[in-house]
């Protein structure tokens, strides 16, 4: 796809939500790790589906149904292109990252994990990459092992390697930490796990849309992400899986579309990817996600990565200049997420006071309570940038933090 030179002012024009005001001030949206704004092309794709293209998919012979099916499958092809997957059938549409992880835990876990088998995750996982494995371990008698990170928020590779044994059947690990910003050396981690014969699921929620991802090069077995974090709609996401594994796995949910034939004596299942897509999917959402992929490709993932690294460097300097402020997550290899704490000022108070200045950040434990426990803090304030943010917005953030300190002086 043809790319224009990267120009943040042009890019901002494509995002109508950036133009709203909060408390009569221009909005500074720095909560992109929670969800991202949608470009006009995504909004149009969703609206057009409902305005002139409403239909179910994979069922009708009528024109609208055929068009909707074509657009829906085209979105699958676009995601395949974005992830560099071998085949479109390796792209399963889900509700989001959480459902993708649950699908693997439920389907692969129930079919292939046995009592005493070990599952390795890391200390920096989002709750959605902890709880499904705890549930599986409780059901099957498997053992969950946790790879620790150091005080910079970097996974300790040697400790991770020590946890891998012939009993390790599955490793599920986050590519980029949502609360620390750490970019894990995922390719090396996957190679380590494969050496022991374990399969690897990658939580790509904070990665896709920010870094170029090539699932064949990484050699991950599964990768899950959410549409709404890649500038697409909420309620849709993707599970990538290697065809050979997906083929062996039993269905996740039963229902329409996932069957080949149904009789009361015997039901046979549909082929990939439909075996894992029971029920009417979020057709408009998937089409919208396809438009988001087009948008990302038109900007270029390499350009996005380069610009967001600039924002990270600028933001790190700006926040480090504030006396007393402590960054949580100082890994050498980081994405544009800045978690921080201020002495004697609780993040929720920071969040409320920044909101008064029109600045949206996330405060709390970010669904990573073990990370908070590691640093012995109840919560952090987190500013997370996307390619439509600017250094001027980071200056506003720094100014507003100084004001917060002034209130609590």
């Amino acid at each position: 796809m043809k790319q224009k030179p990267f120009n943040v002012e042009d890019i901002r024009k494509s995002f109508p939500n950036l133009k709203v005001g909060v408390h009569e001030k221009p909005l500074v949206y720095l909560d992109n790790a929670a969800t991202t704004f949608k470009p006009q092309s995504v909004i149009n794709a969703v609206a057009n589906h409902y305005k002139s293209g409403t239909s179910n998919v994979h069922r009708g012979v009528h024109t609208l149904s055929q068009q909707a099916t074509a657009a829906f499958e085209d979105a699958r092809n676009k995601v395949q292109g974005l992830l560099h997957a071998r085949k479109p059938c390796e792209i399963i549409f889900t509700k989001g990252t959480t459902e993708g992880i649950n699908l693997v835990a439920s389907s692969y876990g129930q079919a292939f994990l046995r009592k005493g088998d070990e599952i390795v995750i890391s200390e920096m996982e989002h709750h959605s990459n902890i709880v499904p494995w705890q549930m599986l371990c409780a059901a099957k008698g498997c053992i969950l092992k946790i790879a620790p990170f150091n005080d910079q928020g970097e996974l300790i590779r040697e400790e991770f390697q020590k946890l891998l044994t012939p009993k390790t059947k599955l490793v599920s690990i986050v590519y980029i930490s949502n609360s620390l910003g750490t970019i894990n050396p995922i390719k090396e981690i996957i190679a380590d796990a494969h050496k022991q014969g374990a399969i690897v699921l990658v939580d790509g929620a904070q990665t896709v849309g920010h870094l170029a991802v090539n699932v064949q090069d990484l050699d991950c077995d599964f990768l899950a992400f959410s549409g709404h974090k890649i500038f697409g709609p909420t309620g849709v996401g993707v599970l990538y899986g290697k065809e050979s594994l997906l083929d062996q796995m039993p269905p996740y949910q039963g229902g329409g579309d996932m069957i080949a034939s149904v009789t009361f004596e015997k039901t046979t299942y549909n082929v990939l990817p439909y075996k894992f897509e029971a029920g009417t999917p979020d057709v408009a959402g998937v089409i919208g996600m396809g438009a988001a992929v087009d948008y990302l490709q038109s900007i270029g993932l390499k350009n996005i990565e380069r610009y967001e690294q600039e924002l990270l460097n600028y933001g790190t300097k700006a926040l480090n200049a504030i006396s007393g402020l402590r960054l949580i997550g100082t890994a050498k290899n980081k994405t544009s997420i800045l978690s921080f704490v201020l002495p004697d000022i609780h993040p929720h108070d920071v969040g409320t006071l920044l909101d008064e200045e029109g600045i949206a950040i996330r405060t709390g434990h970010h669904c990573t309570q073990p990370v908070m426990k590691h640093f012995n803090i109840p919560a952090t304030s987190r500013a997370s940038f996307a390619f439509y943010n600017t250094s001027a917005e980071i200056d506003q953030l720094a100014q507003a933090i100084l004001k917060v300190k002034d209130v609590f002086r």
Binding site: H23, I345, D349, T363, G364, F408
Partner: protein, 152 residues
Amino acid sequence: MSYDSRTELYQQVILEHNKNPRNYRKLEHANHTSEGYNPLCGDHLTVYLHVNKDDIIDDITFEGDGCAISRASSSMMTVALKGKTIKEAKELFRQFHLLVTGELNPEKDAHTLGKLSVFSGIWHFPARVKCASLAWHTMNGSLENVKTVSTE
């Protein structure tokens, strides 16, 4: 809606109680204790009461982690409830709950909240109402012999 939190939410008295919380310690001889959690934000506190044979709260303390609103609210609650009967404490809990949900206007409606009415502005900040009410729910839980109170 424009709303200046600095004057309405973070009032001087709240900032002061946050900085120097009263009765912030464990009460060794407590006969009513409860822990309060806000699972959404991770706030966590313990409220300790000693109720004497005449049903009077003769001592009340708290400990825990929380934001300025939750800390100030806990501190001011302990000050307000010390020396009160259980019946009076329950009545103040009822009034405080109405206050922070915007159903009691301290300027118009009859109340016995005293300094606690400083929290009247909080209903403009729906995400923060639980910060102010956690200590009160926990206190009430301790009187009902509930060991753990959650805001969810």
